[in-house]
Amino acid sequence: MTVILEALRYLGYVLVFPGFLFCFLAGMLLCGIDRKLVAKMQKRVGPPILQPFYDFFKLCGKETIVPAAAERISFMLAPLLGLAALVVIQLFIPVFSFTAFYGMADIIVILYLLLIPAISIIMGGAASGSPYAGVGLSREMVTIISCELPLVLVLLAVAKTVGSAMGTGLCFSLSDIAEYQEINGSLITRISMLPAAAAMLLVIPGETGSHPFDTAEAETEICEGLLAEYSGAALGVFKLSHAVKMLTLSSLFAALFLGGLGTGILVLDALLLFLLCAGITAVSISLVHAVTARLKIEQIFKFYWTVVSLPALLSLVLAWYGL
């Protein structure tokens, strides 16, 4: 009996919170808030906050066309795999003191799990056979390479800071990082972590592929690149994945730097997490979106490996010397 209850509890985690339902609602809302904010910053009226939901359901009602030249199975499976992989990552990220799946993955694993949605969109695009997808694929991969270095440095800096405080030397476990922040307060209050947090804020738009780092999708040049041949429900799932990715990365930021703010009551914590994510999105995605123009791909690479990596490296060096 207890086994069944346990199984149901975990199923609930996967399907409701922090799994699908939460990801769907929170991700789409974040996306809506982002669009509204950008519009406000640019003195436009902007779409209603619920617009992403309307878009999604409208897309699901449209005909889905698979090009004759495409490799059908990969083409149709890619969006589903990407979404599932993202939701699974969300299960490992602690909501303050609560972690749905405890002791299964650490930050290095999450770094690599984040590649799976990117790989699935790349595979889907490649399977369509479109030349625009080819260009988009190349740019998407370079964007991933660009973001990887600062992200790695940020994660190592956090691991070192928490590890030396806990006396184990280094610590990759997210729940240990959350626990450390419960006791010692948020990591962002440490001066050595400030540059890393700033770098991470700049990594988020790159990883989600939002403006000005959206060369891989650049509608006006390469017709949405990897998504050029997608339509209907499949496109809708990709749009949903994009929204969920915003949620995943901003809650990863919250887990790394803003831990220890929780109240211990799960519903309140979930709400608080969503508000924090909205704040992070507003700063790192909407603000950056509103004030910049799209970069070229080689500029993105240069930007991430210099401007963003340097503060992350600074943090790592500071953490290394115990500051």
């Binding site: 399907l15 490799e71 699974v88 799946f101 299964m104 993955a105 056979g129 993105i300």
Partner: protein, 638 residues
């Protein structure tokens, strides 16, 4: 009955495992005219070798024995060992198992893969000679026999590189390999001779007893010679250009052996001399040497691979890049590091074998490995595509495949080493390892797009899936990739940790052959705990549940239309969008895929382009320069 029991005692299995391969080779040379006889002989000998190595798991790994085996009677004259010896500890057996497994799968693949070539008899003769050489080298207990086996395997590998000598560049590649490979063998021979002059023995156990107490200029020089000599066999920097040429020309089944097994025998040689013979791994400088060469290999070769547009040359550079991971982890000289390095060695054999076989399948069906001429094969060769993707995701370190499991350990090992030693340099190694991994992914995205996805060129319309025998061989590797990725605890408990423990118990290694090991410098391996957690099976379970949920939701929604809706021929809405361009002009070649990345590093890439001139004189010069540097280094620090 007693005689039979004696013959079947496991003490003899090491020599049987070597002997069956050589016997197979000689028998095929003598009686291999008939195709059926030849195939049966080859299969028999590789299967027998695999079985003998598997049977050794019980005594050597599970019971922890060290088999010291003397050919004929053991004779010690004046306290010095004379005679040919085999010595099998968990480390030797670990490499022997890797070799036997790769030899078996590649042999099965060869039967259909090589069926269109002439001179199949010569192929199997050389193939088994190569395999026997590798097997003999890792099981040998005697430095001179290691050299003999290295010679055998080098010459067999050179001949096999040029096997398809009508193909462009095959003879040239073999010539380069011959020149530099012979230099490497000569270094090993000279190093062996110098050690013999100093210690009057060639037995590895006795050398391990005597060398550390007799450190002088000659033994230090011998270290450099042996190190560089085995380095050429592992193709680590600066010998990586040879690997690219050799793999580009050799048949895929031989590439599996060269990349999966031959390079491992070089790593084995390096472990034997650094951990056992000279017992110098406790020195920070010696760790620096290995880690430095390893990190340079992994980074330089992955960037070289990004610039390639030939499927097999690209794989060759990745091969060395992954060997760099192994060498780096081995050089850390911690229990976690060595175990992680050996784990990666297993995984490298499996996924690189799989990828080479997939490249061979593509070559077999299309006749080319040029990324610019291929594309869209996923619809023609669906099984090969899936198998290739498993290999590609494994090498790129994507969970839950095996490459991730071992790289995860390597990141931890390097970072832990950095924290323990307080040396920030090891932190840089962690970062390089992480970045190399994503660059590896980039280059396999390129391959999968330009070979298996993307547009199908009209001349490849008639391509078919490869025969079942080749798919079966690839399937074995793919299955092992998944198993070793999903159950990392089994691999570390039963394979890599015993082997790593063997490397840290030099005294037992010496005493197993009856010498006095009390003076051996024991390096304390130390205990370790993982800094993070990774549960692949539970993760996969959760992912499957999530994927199932998404799929059900999608099917319940409008997704099922897709499977019902068949594409109507000629309906323009099912055509790809070309923006008004002709289709033939819109093909995206694999050549310059990651322009945005390469543009920023154009200085580095053009420097590398100038450096890798393809002239064998240059590469020979690099070998000499490398030797000079390592010798200088070892004279100063040892």
């Amino acid at each position: 009955m007693n005689l039979l029991g004696n013959v079947l005692s496991y003490q003899h299995f090491p020599i049987y495992a070597i002997m069956v391969l050589f016997m197979g080779s000689f028998l095929i040379a003598a009686f291999g005219e008939n195709r059926r006889v030849r195939n049966i002989l080859a299969l028999l000998s590789i299967t027998a070798s695999l079985i003998f190595s598997l049977l050794l798991i019980n005594p050597v790994i599970l019971r922890g024995e060290i088999i010291g085996y003397w050919m004929g009677a053991r004779s010690i004259a004046g306290g010095y060992a004379i005679g040919i010896a085999l010595e099998v500890d968990a480390l030797s057996l670990f490499f022997a198992l890797l070799a036997a497994c790769a030899i078996f799968v590649s042999g099965v693949y060869s039967i259909q893969y090589m069926s269109r070539d002439d001179n199949e008899k010569e192929y199997y003769t050389l193939y088994l000679l190569l395999c026997g050489g590798v097997m003999g080298m890792v099981l040998s207990g005697d430095l001179f026999n290691m050299f003999i086996m290295v010679e055998i395997l080098t010459f067999a590998a050179v001949a096999l590189t040029a096997f398809r000598n009508t193909a462009r560049g095959a003879v040239e590649a073999a010539f380069k390999y011959l020149v530099v490979g012979c230099m490497g063998s000569t270094f090993i021979l000279v190093g062996t001779a110098m050690l013999y002059a100093q210690t009057h023995t060639l037995n590895l156990a006795q050398l391990a007893q005597l060398v550390p107490g007799n450190m002088n200029t000659a033994t230090k020089a011998a270290f450099a010679l042996l190190f560089v000599g085995f380095g050429t066999k592992a193709f680590i920097v600066p010998f990586h250009p040879l690997a690219a040429d050799a793999h580009g020309a050799a048949p895929a089944s031989v590439s599996v052996i060269i990349s999966g097994v031959l390079t491992k025998s070089g790593i084995y040689g390096i472990i034997r001399i650094t951990y056992f013979l000279f017992q110098s791994m406790g020195l920070g400088t010696m760790q620096f040497l290995l880690v430095f060469i390893g990190s340079v290999s992994m980074f330089v070769c992955v960037t070289m691979a990004l610039a390639q547009h030939d499927f097999k040359r690209l794989l060759a550079f990745h091969s060395i890049s992954q060997i760099g991971y192994v060498l780096t982890a081995v050089g850390l000289c911690t229990a976690l590091g060595l175990s992680a390095g050996l784990y990666h060695a297993i995984n490298h054999t499996l996924f690189k074998g799989l990828l080479f076989l997939a490249a061979g399948a593509v070559l077999h069906e299309t006749g080319t490995t040029d990324l610019n001429k291929l594309g869209g094969l996923a619809r023609k060769m669906p099984h090969t595509t899936v198998l290739f993707l498993i290999g590609a995701l494994s090498i790129s370190g994507v969970p839950p495949f095996n490459g991730f499991a071992s790289k995860w350990l390597i990141y931890q090992a390097t970072y832990q080493k950095a924290v323990e030693s307080g040396n920030i340099g090891f932190l840089l190694v962690t970062v390089i390892a992480l970045i190399t991994s994503v660059l590896t992914l980039a280059s396999f995205v390129k391959v999968s797009h330009s070979v298996f996805f993307g547009q199908l060129p009209p001349e490849l319309e008639k391509v078919k899936e490869v025969s079942w025998g080749m798919r079966f061989a690839m399937g074995i590797f793919a299955l092992l990739c998944i198993v070793t990725g999903l159950f990392p605890n089994l691999v570390t408990t039963y394979l890599t940790e015993p082997a790593a423990a063997a490397a840290f118990s030099v005294q037992r290694y010496i005493e197993a052959m009856g010498f006095d090991g009390s003076a051996a410098v024991e390096i304390l391996a130390g205990s370790f705990r993982y800094a993070g957690v990774w549960e692949p099976v539970s993760w996969l379970l959760v992912l499957c549940i999530a994927l199932l949920a998404v799929t059900i939701a999608a099917l319940a929604g409008r997704y099922d239309n897709v499977s019902l809706c068949r594409t109507a021929a000629g309906d323009s809405k099912y055509q790809l969008f070309y923006g008004g361009e002709e289709q033939s002009f819109s093909q995206l070649g694999g050549d310059d895929m990651f322009w945005g990345f390469k543009h920023n590093w154009r200085g580095y890439f053009s420097f590398m382009h100038r450096l890798h001139s393809g002239i064998v004189n240059d590469y020979a010069l690099w070998a000499v320069a490398d030797l000079a540097l390592v010798m200088l280094f070892s004279l100063i620090v040892l």
